[in-house]
Assembly symmetry: C2
Homo-oligomer: 319 residues x 2
DNA sequence: ATGAAAGCGCTAACAA
DNA sequence: TTGTTAGCGCTTTCAT
């Protein structure tokens, strides 16, 4: 078996409680004793048993995050932010991919709830009611979703959509079409709202490359001069479909996305999109979770998004 | 506080041990008793406290995985495989991103070791010795790395490289250059070996888009007609650099990658690359870990890779 | 400032 | 087949 607190206590010639205090309540032990204990701890390579500790404290020192699709670079990027901030606090991170399925998502949160101090839920597909239920089960922070009474971090897509529309209209586009993501995705609805009734609304498609590919096929029939995709992955799919059909982007049709994933700069033409502060959002989510764990109130944090014009948008062709 | 095993025992009019057995050793209790217990469990929504359980069993029911770069789609894809297989076994997964730093990597494994039953280490940058040390600390499975005595899953890049070279030579290329990844990366050396002395070797570059961009700059000076990048991300960077310099791919220069990440099909021209069975590798790693946990021996599993010819390779220009 | 002792919720001998 | 009991390693009163 590994080295326990008793081993340390024996070697340091103190009681186990003193060792415990030296480690987690430094103020309560004489400095010299503390030094001696710490030395032995280092020498023996003692690491407190987390199970034993959490059995008493009720805290696990872990946090969970569930995302809909790990293969969409948007989410790994959020994960990084979460890991960074959690790591600073000595917290470990469980992850789960719900594969864009609402039932799976709820199930995963419930499973996680049993072994973490709180969970971060990204781009949830669940109903408000279910989310409220879940929030009663475990401290919960949402990313890109708003539910009254539940903490959340929002990367403001409505505003991003405004910037996008302004951009397209300033280029002279009048007839554009929205390639919609999952109907249950809050951001999707939010983005549609930002569009009001100024665009054809197509949907709902899988929020990935294939979804965008299919969406573009339909979008072509609308005669629109600009395609606004729900996210970059869909935009990339649309780009592929247009290329396959010899439609020139941006000369004949402009294409835009959301998220500003790494590949938005790599594709050709480079994608005009709305940048999302994903890592910051991940960090903020951990902060809000910490507040919750300290007994603080549910909070809401809004992060700004920025339009990044690249080469996939241009004035529409002359009629 | 949550509902405990005692609550269940009281309601079911049995002892706690019977409840415990009903849940984890069904064969040892009378069927009718078991039913009664299960019913109460369901009614009260009882969930065993994992901390208490693992305090006794010494098992956490968790597993960890550390990858060098979550932003390289190759790794999320492995993660998915790991999650899938682990989920089937009721095991939760911790993840960590070492950001391509060896020290961080070792540190993360050590930290994880304290709270998981085993860890999966992807594309490790550590020395053989360090890995052996780590393996002594916790059950360890490597992905894309071989260290004697340590379990591993290998996606065979040497063979992939063979296929690649054969492909290029059959197209007529004689003068090609390898854009190398991290010197400490085992796969990188493995791929270089596959190349023997048949190519210029450039390196080492960051195994990402920017690294590839820079590598291409140097590679251009070699006069080679084909660039073989360490991975797809680098190949994508190389593509970008060539496009920026009006070098036509594949007419003037052929470019290839490794991994077959999603974006290898999305870029233009679509990338000729070597497909890696990433999800399968993740699953296999979990299986090997399970073997280890059951007291089994270290094992080695090799997974085949396949060349996927796309549009980024063609015969070299006529001299 | 330190120690003794209780007990967190559970599993695993050992008894019956 | 079931119950009793002794801890797993730690934190935390309560004494001293």
């Amino acid at each position: 078996m590994a080295v326990t607190i008793r081993d340390v206590a024996r070697q340091a010639q103190v009681s186990v409680s003193t060792v415990s205090r030296a480690l987690s309540a430094p103020g309560l032990v004489k400095e010299t004793t503390r030094q001696r204990v710490l030395e032995i701890v280092a020498r023996l390579g003692y690491q407190p048993n987390r199970a034993a500790r959490s059995l008493i404290t009720g805290r696990t020192g872990n946090l969970g995050i569930v995302v809909p699709d790990l293969l969409n670079p948007f989410f790994p990027s959020v994960l990084r932010g979460v890991q960074t901030r959690a790591g600073e606090a000595g917290t470990s991170v469980f992850f789960c991919d719900s594969r864009e399925d609402a039932d799976t998502e709820a199930e995963l949160v419930r499973t996680m709830a049993a072994q973490v101090d709180g969970v971060v839920l990204c781009a949830s597909l669940l109903s408000d009611e279910t989310i409220v239920d879940l929030a009663a089960l475990t401290p919960l922070v949402l990313i890109n979703r708003i539910v009254p009474g539940v903490s959340s971090v929002l990367m403001d897509s409505a505003n991003g959509m405004d910037q996008m529309v302004t951009h397209l209209e300033s280029l002279g586009h009048k007839n554009y079409v929205y390639l919609g993501g999952p109907a249950a995705a809050w951001s999707n609805n939010r983005r549609m709202q930002g569009l009001a009734d100024r665009a054809h609304l197509l949907g709902s498609f899988d929020p990935n490359f294939n979804g965008g590919y299919k969406a573009a096929e339909q979008a072509l029939k609308t005669g629109a001069t600009a395609f606004i995709a729900y996210n970059d992955l869909m935009a990339l799919g649309a780009l592929a479909h247009l290329a396959a059909n010899n439609v020139k982007v941006p000369d004949e049709i402009s294409v835009t996305g959301f998220d500003d994933i790494l590949y938005a700069t790599m594709c050709s033409p480079a994608l005009t999109t709305v940048h999302m502060p994903t890592e910051t959002a991940g960090e903020a989510a951990v902060d809000l979770l910490a507040t919750l764990l300290d007994g603080g109130p549910a909070e809401h944090r809004e992060l700004p998004t920025t339009l990044v014009p690249r080469s996939s948008t241009a004035p529409p062709p002359q009629a």
